[in-house]
Point group: C2
Chain length 106, copies 2
DNA sequence: CGAATCCGTAAGCACTCACTTACGGTAAGT
DNA sequence: ACTTACCGTAAGTGAGTGCTTACGGATTCG
């Protein structure tokens, strides 16, 4: 899964509430909607977005559908943040070191 | 800085392009705009959003303004991802272990 | 087989937001 | 002082999206 879709999925506050609710464990759609400030169809749409982003897993049990957090759903996003900010931090420290060296040789 | 603003700032593709461009080092607004598919005012607006999110630092040099990646800008977001998905992973492995145990005692 | 439950999807609407052009303000060069 | 370069902001517009109500499909229970 690409990290772009993951960021877009996490950008919505209601979808983050869904994830928070799922931290306690898998839940069906109706139960999730009861604890959220939006309607059940809205929750269903958010669950689709989160699933497409690879953040959730689905398990069908009869007419119910159990949604759960995918433990590896945020891996790509974490890798992106690491690559972006590790490079930035390296450039930062390198520049700071050069600055110190210049000051040293003066 | 709260992670919500960080996610919202990173959700836009053009803003991610700005960050990619700044990986090579600090740049003024005009130089950034030359390498991006949008106008200079658009870049200026994106830079404001990124700065408000704590992802960028600004340094004024005469009439020019040098923007650079803040090395600690994504810390809050990383902490959020860690707390959310470490818990999910713990719950997942715990459940898997219980499942194995049940199978064991059968 | 019929009723009820659980859920996803379609259609429509209001709102947000990314973009553009136009403008004004500040610092450097002649 | 005047011009030029660099930049932020205001105003307006169009596309994207999160929400609702309404509807239809699938499964379970009587």
């Amino acid at each position: 899964m690409t990290y772009e879709i993951t960021i877009a999925a996490l950008a919505d506050p209601t979808r983050r509430l869904v994830l928070e609710a799922l931290k306690a464990g898998p839940k069906p759609v109706g139960t999730l909607a009861d604890g959220l400030p939006v309607s059940r169809p809205a929750v269903s749409q958010h669950l689709k977005v989160l699933s497409d982003a690879g953040l959730l897993t689905v398990e069908t049990q009869g007419t119910r559908r159990l949604y759960a957090i995918d433990p590896h759903g945020a891996d790509a996003l974490r890798a992106y943040l690491d690559s972006m900010w590790d490079d930035a931090l390296a450039a930062y420290t390198r520049k700071a070191r050069e600055k110190a060296k210049r000051k040293d040789t003066q």
